[in-house]
C-alpha cells in the first residue's frame, strides 16, 4: 500500500499551519496561557487524522457515516481546534475566542456537534470507554465509520483506560484505533519517574491490540500506520516530544500549561515557521 506523496505533503503543510495557529492562540489567551506542551506534541497526529485519514468535513459533521474522533486527553483540545479550523469547521475568527468568556472553545472540549466535538472530556481516563461504546454501536448497525481515540501516556495511569482497552478487544472492535501521544511528560514531571509506563506497546499488545510504535512527528509514518488494515483493534503508540517545534518548550514539563511573553511568542513563531 502506497500513500500518495501529495497527501503526505498536504498533511505536513497542515501540521505547520496548525502549530503556528496553536502558538498564536496561546499567546492571545494572555495570562492564563494554554496547555501548549501537550498540544504541540499531538499536532502531526491531528494533521494526519483530520487532513489525511478521516472521513470528516464541514458537510458531513452530523452524518452517521462520518468517522468519529474522540479526544480523551481533553487538555490537548487546542490541537483539535486548530485541526477543525484547518478543515474549515471552525472559522479563524472563532479560533480567536479560545478560552474567552462565552466561547464554544473551552480549555477542555465540550460536546458540540456543530463544531465537531463528539464528547466532553477533561476528566482523564474516560474517552476510551466512550470510543468502545461508539465502536460497538457502529458495528452493531453495520456502519462502516471508524472510531479514533487519542489518549496521553500520562493518562494511561488511569485504571479505567485499561478496563476500556480490555473490553475493546473482548468485543472484537476492529473499527477502533487508539492513539497514544507518548510525550513522556506529565504534570509533575517525567512519566518514567511518576509512574513508569515504559512497556506501553507490550501492554497494548497484551491487551489484544494490533500495536505499532512510531515517530509521532512523522506524518508519513502515521499515515501508513492509520491505513494498515487489521482484524483487531489497533493501537498506535506515537513517540512525541512535548512542546515539539519550539526549542524552549521541548521536553520541558513546565510547559504543560504556559503563557507566552511577546518575546517568546516571536521566537516560537520563528522556529515553527522553519
Amino acid at each position: 500500500m502506497m500513500i500518495d506523496e501529495q497527501i503526505i505533503k498536504k498533511c505536513e503543510l497542515a501540521a505547520k499551519q496548525m502549530r503556528l495557529d496553536a502558538i498564536t492562540a496561546t499567546y492571545q489567551v494572555g495570562n492564563t496561557g494554554a496547555h501548549i506542551g501537550g498540544t504541540l506534541s499531538m499536532i502531526e497526529i491531528m494533521a494526519a487524522l483530520y487532513v489525511g485519514v478521516m472521513n470528516l468535513s464541514p458537510e458531513n459533521l452530523k452524518s452517521p457515516t462520518r468517522d468519529r474522533f474522540i479526544l480523551s486527553k481533553g487538555h490537548g483540545v487546542l490541537a483539535q481546534y486548530v485541526a477543525l479550523k484547518q478543515i474549515g469547521v471552525i472559522s479563524p475568527e472563532e479560533l480567536q475566542t479560545f478560552k474567552q468568556n462565552g466561547t464554544r472553545l473551552y480549555a477542555h472540549p465540550s460536546r458540540n456537534a456543530d463544531i465537531g466535538i463528539e464528547f466532553s472530556s477533561g476528566s482523564l481516563g474516560q474517552g476510551v470507554s466512550l470510543a468502545v461504546g461508539v465502536a460497538l454501536a457502529l458495528k452493531k448497525k453495520g456502519n462502516p465509520a471508524r472510531v479514533y481515540v487519542l489518549v496521553g501516556d500520562g493518562e494511561c495511569d488511569e485504571g479505567s483506560v485499561w478496563e476500556a482497552l480490555a473490553s475493546a478487544s473482548h468485543f472484537g472492535l476492529d473499527n477502533l484505533t487508539v492513539i497514544v501521544d507518548k510525550n513522556a511528560l506529565q504534570y509533575d514531571g517525567e512519566t518514567d519517574t511518576i509512574l513508569s509506563m515504559n512497556s506501553l506497546s507490550q501492554k497494548f499488545e497484551a491487551f489484544g491490540f494490533d500495536t505499532q510504535e512510531l515517530d509521532g512527528h512523522s506524518v508519513e509514518k502515521l499515515l501508513y500506520a492509520f491505513q494498515k488494515p487489521s482484524d483487531r483493534p489497533k493501537a498506535i503508540v506515537a513517540n512525541t516530544v512535548k512542546g515539539k517545534g519550539v526549542s524552549f518548550m521541548e521536553g520541558n514539563a513546565l510547559w504543560h500549561n504556559g503563557k507566552l511573553s511577546e518575546k517568546q511568542y516571536i521566537q516560537a513563531i520563528e522556529e515553527a515557521s522553519v
Binding site: 466532553s120 474516560q126 470507554s129 468502545v132 461504546g133 454501536a137 452493531k140
Partner: protein, 323 residues
C-alpha cells in the same frame, strides 16, 4: 405489551425489584430493537438473564469494571441505543460518580442507570454493598431524573417510563423478594407526579421506595391513636413534585420517610422545596442516621434504624406530642 394483571403483579413481587426490572426489559424488547442492557458482571443478579438468553446480541457484560460500563453505555447511547446499565446502587452512585457526572450530567447522554439493592436489603453483606447515599450523590448532579419506585409494580412502571425518556435517568431499586406491595392493580404512573395514597388531616407522610408500604401501615397505627395521616408516594425524587408538597401545608406536621440517609435524600429535597415557604408545618425527617450500622439481615437493620411501621408511627406520635 406488558399486562398489569394480578398474576403478573404477584409474580414480580415474588421476584423482587431486580426480577421486576428484568421482566420490564423483556416487555420493552418486544418493541424496541435499539434496546441494550449493559452490566458489570451482574447480568444474573439484575434479573437480566432471560433477556440475555433471548437477546444475546443486545446484552453486553463488561466484567467487573463499572467505570468502563458507564462510558460504554454513554457511547452507545450517543449512537441512538436505548441503554440500561446495571450495577449495585452504591457503585453507581459512589464508585463511578465522576463517570455519571460527566457522561449523564454534563453531556446528558440518555443512559438509564439501574442502582440495584439500594438501602439495606443486602445488609448482611456489609456496608460495602448497602447504599445509604445514592440519592444524595446523584440528586446533586444536574440533568439526571431520579426515580425511587415503591414496590415491584412501580419498578416495572418506572422502567417502562424511563425507556421513553430521552434523558439520563437513575432508578433506585430497593426491597427484597416478597417486599410488601403498594400497588396490587394497574394505575396511572407519570414521572414527576407523586401519588396520594391516603388522605388525612393531622400529618402528611411523604415516603419513597420501600418506606411507602411501611408508611401506609404506620398510618393505620396512627389512626388507632386518633391521628389521621396523608400518605404520599414520592416516586420521583428529581424533578420533585412541588405542587403535591404545597398541598400538604395545612397538616400539623410533614414527615419524610426513606430507606436512605436523612442527609441529602428525600428529606433534604423536601426541606429545600419548603424552605422558601413562609408559613409551613415543621418537618420530621425519618431515614437512616448519619452512621453505619454493623451488618445484619434486612429486617434486623430496618428495626435498628426504626424503619418499621411501629418505629415510624411512634416517632410521628412523639413529634406531634412535642409540638
Amino acid at each position: 405489551m406488558i399486562d398489569f394483571n394480578a398474576m403478573n403483579i404477584k409474580m414480580w413481587s415474588r421476584l423482587g425489584s431486580c426480577g421486576a426490572f428484568g421482566a420490564a426489559m423483556m416487555a420493552l424488547s418486544e418493541q424496541d430493537d435499539d434496546l441494550a442492557v449493559i452490566t458489570a458482571d451482574l447480568c444474573f443478579y439484575s434479573g437480566s438473564d432471560r433477556f440475555r438468553q433471548s437477546h444475546p446480541d443486545q446484552l453486553y457484560n463488561v466484567g467487573i469494571a463499572e467505570q468502563n460500563m458507564i462510558g460504554v453505555a454513554a457511547g452507545m447511547a450517543s449512537e441512538g441505543y436505548n441503554v440500561f446499565a446495571t450495577t449495585y446502587a452504591t457503585f453507581a452512585a459512589a464508585r463511578v460518580l465522576d463517570q455519571v457526572r460527566v457522561n449523564m450530567g454534563y453531556m446528558q447522554l440518555p443512559v438509564k442507570l439501574i442502582g440495584l439493592t439500594a438501602g439495606l436489603s443486602v445488609g448482611i453483606l456489609g456496608t460495602t454493598h448497602t447504599s445509604n447515599e445514592d440519592l444524595a450523590a446523584i440528586r446533586s448532579i444536574p440533568n439526571i431524573v431520579v426515580l425511587s419506585p415503591a414496590d415491584t409494580t412501580e419498578t416495572v412502571k418506572a422502567v417502562l417510563a424511563a425507556a421513553k425518556e430521552n434523558k439520563p435517568v437513575y432508578i433506585r431499586l430497593s426491597g427484597v423478594m416478597g417486599s410488601p406491595l403498594v400497588y396490587k392493580q394497574d394505575y396511572e404512573y407519570t414521572i414527576g407526579k407523586a401519588i396520594r395514597l391516603r388522605e388525612g388531616n393531622d400529618v402528611a407522610i411523604v415516603a419513597t421506595g420501600t418506606m411507602v408500604a411501611e408508611s401506609l401501615k404506620a398510618a393505620e397505627l396512627l389512626a388507632e391513636q386518633g391521628i389521621s395521616a396523608t400518605v404520599i408516594d414520592m416516586h420521583t425524587i428529581k424533578p420533585l413534585d412541588r405542587e403535591m408538597l404545597m398541598s400538604c401545608l395545612d397538616s400539623k406536621l410533614i414527615v419524610t420517610v426513606e430507606e436512605h440517609s436523612t442527609l441529602g435524600g428525600l428529606g433534604s429535597a423536601v426541606s429545600e422545596a419548603l424552605a422558601e415557604v413562609a408559613h409551613k408545618p415543621p418537618q420530621l425527617l425519618i431515614g437512616l442516621a448519619d452512621h453505619y450500622v454493623h451488618a445484619g439481615d434486612y429486617k434486623y437493620l430496618l428495626e435498628q434504624y426504626g424503619l418499621t411501621p411501629d418505629g415510624i408511627a411512634s416517632k410521628i406520635a412523639g413529634k406531634l406530642d412535642a409540638l
